[in-house]
Subunit: 168 residues, 2 copies
DNA sequence: CAAGATTGATTGATCAATCTTG
DNA sequence: CAAGATTGATCAATCAATCTTG
């Protein structure tokens, strides 16, 4: 039913050294994330002409009205400079608008244009479909939920302690 | 004993939609990987003057004698051009040598210099220590092993089907 | 002066084209 | 011509400096 499902290791399979497991997991995590991100990005580029970070920007802006450049930078763990330039490109393409905050002239609210909204809604179908094929179909629900919960925990720990944040 | 350990979700906690879980997991996976990679890289840069990809290159070459540029590109899922330039930088720094393959003049074997070996051995201590602090200490052994096994499975599936490979 | 964002300079990654050797 | 690698052009991320507003 689920392709290549693997069982949770029994106690005997747990390596003596947690550090060695952590090093191996780091490697698997990084290479898996790279390939998965590439694969999803390939599909988005082929079908919609945008790359993965652009899709993520558009979706974030769609789902969080009144978000600003700094909000995106924090969410995606990249510098505000890179974020500002990314928004420039989305604005040039006609998918995003900057709207000056009347209450604080230093920053702008970001909002989608009609074209941007149409695009992100279409791209989201591709995105979800691909993740289902590349992820859900390979794991049984328990594995998926368990791994998702662990990653969410690890992520929240690094966010809470502000580890791994970019410079500026 | 283990900080913030989380239990494997019970059946009732499993969301109805696997696709929604996959989308959420993708987000946690990508942001966690970004922060973890940044954090590890920060430590390596501060203590040893190298960035994370450089450490990974050096360790790969140390552990796999007679490896070539194409081998590293495949292992790290980046283009051969980027790999070649990365090796140029490591060679300029005096940590890596290219040795022409006598049996095939098109490619070179990569090997560490003495300085490179000293560096990677020292950096590996930092690397392992940081991963222990950022990863092992947050999870109980079962969680760690289970998540590691799942990530290894997912990675091997993408590698087997050559999904998410770079262009050139 | 602090906060938010933008800009400019450098570095690094990607892609395509090229070079060399099998 | 194919395989392996390098080079050059372009694009994007980073970091630092600057600008503007609170």
């Amino acid at each position: 039913m689920y392709a290549m499902a693997v069982n949770v290791p029994a106690a005997a399979d747990i390596p003596a050294s947690a550090a060695a497991t952590a090093v191996a997991m780091f490697d698997d995590l990084v290479r898996y994330e790279t390939r998965l991100y590439n694969a999803v990005g390939d599909g988005l580029r082929r079908r919609h002409g945008i790359v993965a970070p652009q899709f993520e920007f558009l979706r974030y802006i769609r789902d969080r009205p009144d978000s600003r450049v700094g909000d995106l930078a924090a969410a995606f763990v990249i510098g505000v400079g890179a974020t500002s330039k990314g928004i420039n490109r989305l604005e040039s393409s006609g998918w995003v608008r900057r709207v000056r905050d009347p209450a604080d002239g230093r920053s702008s609210f970001l909002e989608l244009t009609d074209a941007g909204r149409t695009l992100v809604d279409a791209a989201e179908h591709t995105f979800t479909e691909q993740l289902a094929a590349l992820l859900s179909d390979l794991l049984d629900p328990g594995q998926l939920a368990g791994t998702a919960a662990t990653l969410a925990l690890l992520r929240s720990e690094l966010e809470r302690t502000d580890v791994g944040a970019p410079v500026g």
